[in-house]
Symmetry: D2
Subunit: 105 residues, 4 copies
């Protein structure tokens, strides 16, 4: 039974450590890309080349977001739905709202 | 005079230093946001909160890209069109292709 | 009548009729917007005005997609997770893949 | 001086008829896709299949927008920049603003 410990405050994530490693590795890569872009602007590099690197970093961030979302649906939302009740509905609504913010970002 | 120095190799950008400062400031802010996101994942923070920060960083990058693009149209493309000829057409085609990559990123 | 020809494998949706009405109304509005854009191009209207209408139709389509997705998570995915087992995992993976296609569209 | 022929009312587009034919053909295809999507929702087709068609229509609309934009840069903006003066700057600023609305749509 999982009845005792419903989250009272803001829950923390509990995905497997493997997903986290993957997400952290992507995040560090994207941060490195951005530092590279900063260097390109400082060096007065050609706008189109800079733009393409910004577009590449944007794509990398979207991949991070999609992985976080898949992780969230597979763990937090699935757990809440399995338990059922109002928390389940709230989790689904929360996920939908986050997807909307992502699609519109 | 525009006669002497047509770019032979990959051109460098020549916007006013003001735009560059603005762009660099936005880039550093976005890089800072990403480092923050990395810290959030390391601390096991709630997925939806992490996702929202990733979406915010994505928006910030898009703003950088749009500023670079405006800069490029106002300077490089405008200069090329003023000179006319094939370079002008090439610059417009190059800008359109960069816009397409941005819209699809 | 829709009673005779249910697909054998491919599942059908079973949302309440209210969501469907809402989605159909949005789809018809977006289709109307597109017909309007076609008329604008035929009349040789100014590019920027045409572009803005295309951007408005794109936003309307994203709203349709987000509503379909929320509907899908609240019904199909929730039902599958409640039943549990491999189907649940498959439904979550399928939803994640659809979200990725949407984010990248 | 460019004093004689500044547009007084909203300008009309003057691209070659070839681009217009291409754009109209894409718009009609996208409108057809949307009618197809409406039919799918009316028939109660599976959400994910509907979603994928909406994503396809969104991609088609983006392609229309990019073609309109390329057309605009190659004709209206290029013409204004060739004439020079304030109209040129205004056209570039207007194009940048339209690109921003497109990227954020």
């Amino acid at each position: 039974m999982t009845a005792t410990a419903l989250p009272v405050v803001r829950p923390t994530r509990s995905p497997g450590p493997r997903q986290d490693r993957e997400i952290l590795s992507r995040l560090r890569k994207a941060t490195g890309q951005l530092s590279g872009v900063t260097g390109m602007v400082e060096d007065g590099r050609y706008c189109i080349d800079v733009l393409d690197q910004v577009a590449a970093a944007t794509k990398a961030l979207k991949a991070v977001a999609l992985e976080l979302l898949d992780d969230h649906l597979s763990h937090c939302v699935t757990d809440a739905v399995t338990k059922g009740g109002r928390t389940a509905e709230e989790k689904v609504a929360e996920a939908s709202a986050a997807i909307a913010r992502l699609v519109r970002s």
